[in-house]
C-alpha cells in the first residue's frame, strides 16, 4: 500500500516557507509515530498539520483521535487511498483507537472535499506576508495546556507576535460585549492587578470586556494573548485592527484557523474552548445570561480550571451571568485585587521584605532592585537600562536576587523573562 500511496510532502518552496514560519521545525522529528508511512521529518509533520488546518473545523474529534494515534502526516496520506475509511479503521484499531467505519467514511468525505494543496501553499505565503509563526504540538513553544482538550485540541496554531507568551501562567478575562462602565472599570482594575503580578491576560479581542482586558494588560506592561475565531491575520472585529496590532506587538494573537479564515459561530464557540484551556484560570467580569463568555466559563469548569466571577448589581442584566456562575457553577466570587491574587494562588508570604535585606546587597543588587517598579514587571534589558548596567550583568544580578528571594520571574523562559519584585505584605 505504501508504494502506491502518493506522498503528501512539502515541495522545495513550501519547505522554505515552513522553515521561515517555524525555524526549529526540522529538528523535531517524529519518526517513531510515523513508522508506517515511512520517515516523516519535522517539516513534513508541520506541513501535514498546515494542510489539516484547512481540512478540519476546530474541535474535530475524529481527526484529533486519528492524528493523535497515527500522526498528522500518516493520516493525511491515507486520505488518498481508495479504501481510506477501512485503512484508517484498521490502523486506528491497531493503535488502540476504536472508530466506527461510518464515522470515518463521513470524516474522509468532508476532509477530502477541502483537500487543496495549492490553497495550503497560498496559506503559507499569506502567513509569511503577515509575519505569522506556525506552532505545532511538536514545537517546544507549544502551550502544553492545550493538550488537556484531548482529541478536541487544536492541531496547529498560527501565531502573530511572540509565541512564547502562549505558555505563560495566565488568566483568561472574558465577558459581555455590551459591558457597562462598571464592568469595564472593574475589569481594568483586576487586570492591572493580575498583570503587575506577572500573569498574562488571555482573551478574545471582542468588543466590551475582552477589549478592556487586553488594553488594561497592555497598559500594565503584562503580556496579553488574543485567541481569534478567524485567521490570526484577520482583524475581527475590524475596528480592533490597531488593538490587535498592539497585542501582537507586546504579546501574541493566535488562531487554529488558516490565515484569512472567516470567524463563524462554530469557530467562536471552539475558540472559547481554546481560551479556557490556554489559561490557568478564567475570570468572567461581567456577562449577561446569554453571553458567549459563559461558554468559555463552562469549558474552563469542564477542564477543571479555576473559574471566577465578579458580582455586580442584581438590577444589572450585564451581571446576571456572573451571578449564575457563582450560584450554579461554583465560580469563586472575586470582588477585589486581594481576592483575585488569592484566586490565582499568588502568595507573597514566602518572599522577603526587601528593605530588610538591602544591607546585605551589593551596589549592583541595590541598583537592580531600584530599577524594578513596586508593582509591575520589567525585562532584563529594561532593568539594565534603568540600572545603568549591561544586559548580561543585569541578568546575572537578577538571577542572584532570585535566589535570595527578592525578585521573581514572571514565567517566560530565556531572553523573554520578565522580572518583578517579591514583596512581603
Amino acid at each position: 500500500m505504501n508504494a502506491k500511496r502518493p506522498r503528501i510532502r512539502p515541495d522545495a518552496k513550501e519547505r522554505a516557507a515552513l522553515t521561515q514560519l517555524s525555524p526549529n521545525a526540522e529538528s523535531s522529528l517524529e519518526q517513531a509515530r510515523e513508522g508506517e508511512a515511512g520517515v516523516a521529518t519535522g517539516l513534513d509533520v508541520l506541513y501535514a498539520r498546515a494542510v489539516w488546518s484547512r481540512l478540519i473545523e476546530p474541535g474535530d474529534a475524529v481527526a484529533g483521535a486519528l492524528i493523535g494515534a497515527l500522526g498528522a502526516s500518516s493520516v493525511l496520506e491515507m486520505l488518498a487511498d481508495v479504501d481510506a475509511p477501512q485503512q484508517l479503521e484498521t490502523s486506528a484499531a491497531a493503535a488502540g483507537v476504536d472508530l466506527n467505519r461510518r464515522t470515518l467514511a463521513a470524516a474522509v468525505a468532508r476532509w477530502r472535499h477541502r483537500l487543496d494543496r495549492a490553497a495550503t501553499a497560498a496559506d503559507l505565503d499569506r502567513a509569511i506576508a503577515s509575519g505569522l509563526q506556525l506552532i505545532g504540538p511538536e514545537c517546544s513553544l507549544w502551550p502544553a495546556a492545550l493538550n488537556d482538550l484531548g482529541v478536541h485540541a487544536p492541531q496547529l496554531l498560527w501565531v502573530r507576535g511572540e509565541a512564547a507568551f502562549l505558555g505563560l501562567p495566565s488568566l483568561a478575562v472574558v465577558g459581555a460585549r455590551a459591558c457597562t462602565g462598571y464592568g469595564a472599570n472593574v475589569t481594568a482594575e483586576l487586570v492591572d492587578s493580575a498583570g503587575t503580578a506577572g500573569i498574562a491576560i488571555v482573551s478574545g479581542a471582542a468588543y466590551g470586556i475582552d477589549a478592556v482586558a487586553h488594553r488594561a494588560a497592555l497598559a500594565s506592561g503584562a503580556p496579553t494573548v488574543a485567541v481569534l475565531a478567524g485567521g490570526a491575520d484577520r482583524a475581527y472585529p475590524a475596528a480592533h485592527e490597531s488593538l490587535l496590532d498592539r497585542i501582537a506587538g507586546a504579546g501574541a494573537v493566535c488562531s487554529e484557523m488558516v490565515p484569512g479564515a472567516a470567524p463563524t459561530r462554530w469557530r467562536f464557540l471552539q475558540r472559547n474552548r481554546s481560551i479556557a484551556a490556554l489559561a490557568t484560570a478564567t475570570l468572567v467580569t461581567e456577562a449577561g445570561t446569554r453571553s458567549g463568555s459563559l461558554n468559555t466559563a463552562g469549558h474552563a469548569a469542564e477542564l477543571g480550571r479555576d473559574l471566577g466571577a465578579v458580582p455586580g448589581p442584581v438590577t444589572s442584566a450585564a451581571s446576571a451571568g456572573c451571578h449564575r456562575l457563582i450560584r450554579e457553577y461554583g465560580a469563586t466570587l472575586v470582588s477585589n485585587s486581594d481576592e483575585l491574587r488569592e484566586f490565582l494562588g499568588l502568595d507573597d508570604a514566602a518572599g522577603q521584605l526587601i528593605d530588610g535585606i538591602v544591607d546585605r546587597q551589593s551596589a549592583s543588587h541595590r541598583r537592580v532592585l531600584d530599577a524594578l517598579p513596586l508593582r509591575g514587571i520589567r525585562s532584563a534589558g529594561e532593568v539594565a537600562l534603568a540600572a545603568g548596567l549591561g544586559t548580561e550583568e543585569a541578568r546575572g544580578v537578577l538571577a542572584e536576587l532570585e535566589m535570595l528571594g527578592c525578585v521573581a520571574r514572571a514565567g517566560v523562559p530565556g531572553d523573554l523573562a520578565r522580572w518583578r519584585l517579591v514583596r512581603r505584605e
Copy 2:
C-alpha cells in the same frame, strides 16, 4: 431547706397583672419540673421568668442551663439560700448538669445584685400600660424555633402586637444601617416577593435595610416582626416610633428585655441571635464589612438556618459584607424573586391552575377566589368583606378551596390565618 426558704411567688396584684398579660398562663402547669420547690403553677413560673428577665442579661448560659434543668421558679427560690451556689451545684448535678461552683457563685452574686421584686411589679404595670403580652416557653404561642438557641435562648418574650406572628414561617431580612438606594430598592423588591408568598419578615427596626424591610412587608400586607435590643415598649431608634407602632399593629414587636430597658451593645448582639433563631432563613441584602447584620448572619449559619446574601457592585462598600458571606460562609447568592423563592423552598408546582378548575367551583368559591389578590394575602374577614359573605362562611369556603389546592394558608393558626392564591406558574 424548703421550709426555711422564702417562697418567691406573685402576690394577688401581680397574679392579676400576669393573668392580664398572658391569659392562658395559669392553665400551663409545670408541676413535674418544680418538684423540689413544691407545686409551682403556670402563673408562678411566668412570674419567676418575669423576675429573671430583670436579673439576667440576654444569653446568660448559666441561667439557661439551671432554669432548663430545674425550672425558673425553683432556681429563683434557691437564690435566696445562704449557700445558694452549693445548693445549685448539687441540684444541677442531680439533674445531669455540671456547673462549676466558682461559676455559680459569680452568677448568684450578679443575679442577687439585681433582685428587686418591686421593680418586677413595676415592670408588669408598665407592660400592661403599654399593652404588652408575656410569652414564655410554657405558652402555646412560644416560638419553638428559639429553643434551638439551647442555654442561650431567651427566658421570656415581652411582646407588643400579636404574639402568634412569632411562630410564622419567616425570613429575617437584615443589613446595613447606611444602606444605598440600590440596597433599599432590592430589599423592598425581595421583601415584597416573600411577603406576597405569605412569609413573615423579621428584622431589627434599625435605620437602613431593617426599616426598608419592615416597611415593604407592611406595604405587601405580610406580617412583620421587629425584635428589639431594649424594651418592647421603647422606640429605638426614637425616629422609628411610628414605624414600630405600625409593626405592632400589623405584626409584632418583641424583646426579651423588661419594658423600658435600654438597648446596649451586648443586647444588640444578643438580639441578633434571636432574629437568626426566630426566622426560618436569613437574608442579608446589603452590608458593609463591619455591619452588625454579619453578626446575625453568623448566628444563622451557626444555627444551621439557611443564609442568603444579595450581591452588589464590588465598588460599593455597602455590598462588601454580602460578598464576604457568599465567599466565606457559603451564603446562597440571591439576585431576584425567583431565586428568593427557591432559597425559601417555596414551590408552587404542586398547586393547581385556578383557571383550569373554576368551572367546578360554586358561586361562593368563585367569589372567594375573586376576593384574593393575585399576589398578596388576606384574612378570612377581609375575604368575607370583599366577597360579600359572612366571615364564618368565607372560612368554610377557604377551607374547601384549600383542600382543592386553590388557596393556601400563610401559616398562622386559627383566626389569625392569612390566605393566598395558589398559582401554577
